[in-house]
């Protein structure tokens, strides 16, 4: 601003009209920048408000029972979000269980193990996985992965676990089509890997080489260097990266819609079809009217709040490391 006023006083002596246009333009440009930045806030606030207003009739009608109810009955206008919430959480948890070791392994490989000529192509491939659209993952899941998964995992596991207590409940599926909560979780795992791996790699690469070399110097193995030196150093931000992946997994829509089987009923088995909040919205919203539409928006509101909290915590954890 100081620069602006100096230009003004100089130009003031020369010609009056140019002064106005220059200061005016400066003020307009600043206002444009500020309002664009505010627009980002407005969009985020707008999403929250729109979700809340749109979902309000359902929240009012069903109260807290909306979160725990498991009916999804369009005939009698009875809606409960629990099966979708449970489906969302269980697919995300499965995605993390598979995706986190994969991502950390890739990050360790890229920063510690890979020779130079391997590093760049592998890193590029992992980044390109992030660019592949969600719908393509869905098609790969449905046409390639689902038949293989049904034949080589679901059928044998169902045969093995039939009638067993607990394990049989979780892993037995009556109709092993390959579609289900577990399949969706596995596809999601591949989709979140690039995001977690890329941040984890950056964090590992940021750790001063001296630390690593001194650990090797006193005779540590690579495992010990990773476990006792690198992970504690990068710890918090890697948890942030994982939560960022979780945020992605919770809201992912198209890939899940292809492979989860879209059942409104909640099954106790992870190999049975289910639904997530996002997949249910994608499937039903265009045909929904009145209370059903409101119930769908209300589940969207729940999804937004959960992902918002997860993403805020994730960004705080990642940012803490970057500030160091």
């Amino acid at each position: 601003m100081a620069a602006g006023s100096e230009a003004l006083s100089y130009a003031d002596r020369k010609s009056g009209s140019q002064v106005i246009s220059l200061t005016g333009r400066n003020a307009i440009f600043r206002a444009l920048c500020l309002s664009s930045a505010i627009l980002v806030l407005a969009v985020l606030a707008g999403i929250l408000i729109a979700m809340f207003i749109g979902g309000w009739p359902a929240f009012r009608e069903f109260g807290l029972g909306f979160f725990t109810g498991s009916a999804w009955d369009t005939q009698n206008d009875q809606y409960g979000a629990w099966p979708a919430i449970a489906g969302t959480l269980s697919t995300a948890v499965i995605a993390l269980i598979i995706g986190v070791p994969l991502s950390l392994g890739i990050a360790v490989f890229l920063t510690q193990l890979a020779p130079g000529w391997v590093r760049t192509p592998v890193a590029t491939a992992v980044e390109l996985l992030a660019a592949v659209p969600s719908i393509i993952y869905g098609m790969w899941g449905l046409f390639v992965f689902v038949p293989l998964f049904a034949r080589f995992f679901q059928v044998p596991v169902s045969n093995l676990t039939e009638g067993l207590p607990i394990v049989g409940t979780i892993l037995y599926s009556r109709s092993p089509t390959g579609l289900g909560v577990a399949t969706a979780g596995i596809i999601l795992a591949f989709m979140i890997v690039p995001f977690i791996a890329s941040i984890a790699r950056d964090m590992l690469a940021q750790i001063p080489t001296v630390l690593r070399e001194s650990a090797y110097g006193i005779g540590c193995t690579t495992w010990e260097v990773v476990r006792y030196v690198l992970l504690p150093q990068a710890g918090v931000s890697i948890i942030g990266a994982i939560m960022l992946g979780l945020g992605r997994a919770l809201g992912e829509t198209m890939a899940v819609t292809f492979v989860i089987g879209n059942a409104n009923r909640l099954s106790s088995s992870i190999l049975d079809p289910g639904s997530t909040i996002a997949s249910r919205i994608a499937n039903e919203f265009n045909e929904a009217l009145g209370l059903q539409m409101s119930a769908l928006i209300a589940t969207g509101c729940i999804l937004f709040l959960v992902t918002f909290v997860v993403l805020v915590v994730a960004r705080l954890l990642v940012a803490r490391m970057k500030a160091l």
Partner: protein, 296 residues
């Protein structure tokens, strides 16, 4: 002296006398890390291979010249869907680019150090990962419901909201890399901040900002979920006013992929190949231009 006793000749010198448990833990880490990296590369090539085989055999001139077929009708192509996708994506980028660049400029040039800028920068990163289907829902309640009809405009707005945080983030990051000596030199010549920004800082960061726009383009070109309730989709040419449903590639793929008609499935594969190759090319160009990864 013990130290004088030589190790057995066949022991690898790197290992010496290392406890088996340590050696095994190390081996497990190395093998699994390598294996996991291999798996991710294999999955990428598996997906690409699937698209090339299935999509390549479905590609023909018809795909680019005929419009999407109705249920049960023969043949057909994707030309209306491709054109619709181009229009929606470019409109989305056209809306998001000025807003995103200006907002990124505010964060760095005007708001540096202020709480407002810090909060906006932070929430922008949250918006970056917000579920895209919710952005579709938001635009539905904001645009489609009041207007009473699905429209290409609603679809373009939804895409713009997804592209916006990508552009804001890259613009802010790139402007942050511009040395302050450049700005000081501009200010010393008497130029106000707006002039310094437009004539000096933006020019210095041009390549980075363009990369951000390309990455945003790659991001929204394949987005399906936000278009489901905004641009909708159909099997006709869209009207020039973009009112009513606008056919687009991602939603067409979604509807055709598991349809009972053979020609629909073939077209879905062809569309999937076209869209993926386009997006991967854009992101490779963007990454090459910048040589810095911005996946987040």
């Amino acid at each position: 002296m013990n130290a004088a006793s030589p190790l057995p000749a066949d022991t690898p010198p790197a290992w010496g006398r290392v406890r088996a448990s340590r050696r095994i833990a190390d081996r497990i880490l190395k093998v699994s890390a390598t294996l996991f990296s291999l798996i991710s590369v294999v999955v990428l090539f598996w997906i690409l291979g699937m698209l090339l085989v299935q999509g390549g055999t479905s590609l023909s001139l018809d795909v680019f010249t005929k419009i999407t077929p109705g249920p049960g009708s023969e043949g057909g192509g994707l030309v209306n869907a491709i054109a619709g996708s181009l229009v929606l994506t470019l409109l989305g980028i056209a809306v998001a680019t000025p807003v995103g660049v200006l907002a990124g400029t505010y964060l760095v040039e005007y708001g540096r150090g202020s709480i407002l800028a810090a909060v906006i920068g932070f929430l922008n990163d949250v918006l970056l990962s917000a579920p895209s289907i919710l952005i579709g829902l938001f635009v539905y309640t904001l645009v489609v419901q009041p207007m009473g009809t699905y429209s290409g405009w609603a679809g373009a707005i939804a895409l713009a909201i997804i592209a916006l945080p990508v552009i804001v983030r890259t613009t802010a990051d790139m402007l942050g890399l511009v040395p302050s000596t450049l700005r000081e030199a501009g200010a010393a010549l008497g130029a106000p901040t707006s002039l310094v920004t437009q004539r000096v800082t933006w020019r210095a960061a041009k390549a980075g900002i363009v990369t951000g726009i390309l990455l945003a383009l790659a991001r929204i070109a394949g987005e399906t979920a936000p278009l489901l309730f905004t641009a909708l989709n159909n099997n006709f040419w869209f009207s020039p006013s973009l009112m009513g449903g606008v056919s687009n590639l991602p939603v067409t793929i979604f509807q055709f992929a598991s349809a009972p008609y053979e020609n629909w499935r073939q077209l879905a594969w062809a569309g999937a190949l076209i869209i993926t190759v386009t997006i991967l090319l854009i992101s490779i160009v963007a990454r090459y231009a910048l040589r810095k990864d911005i996946v987040r």
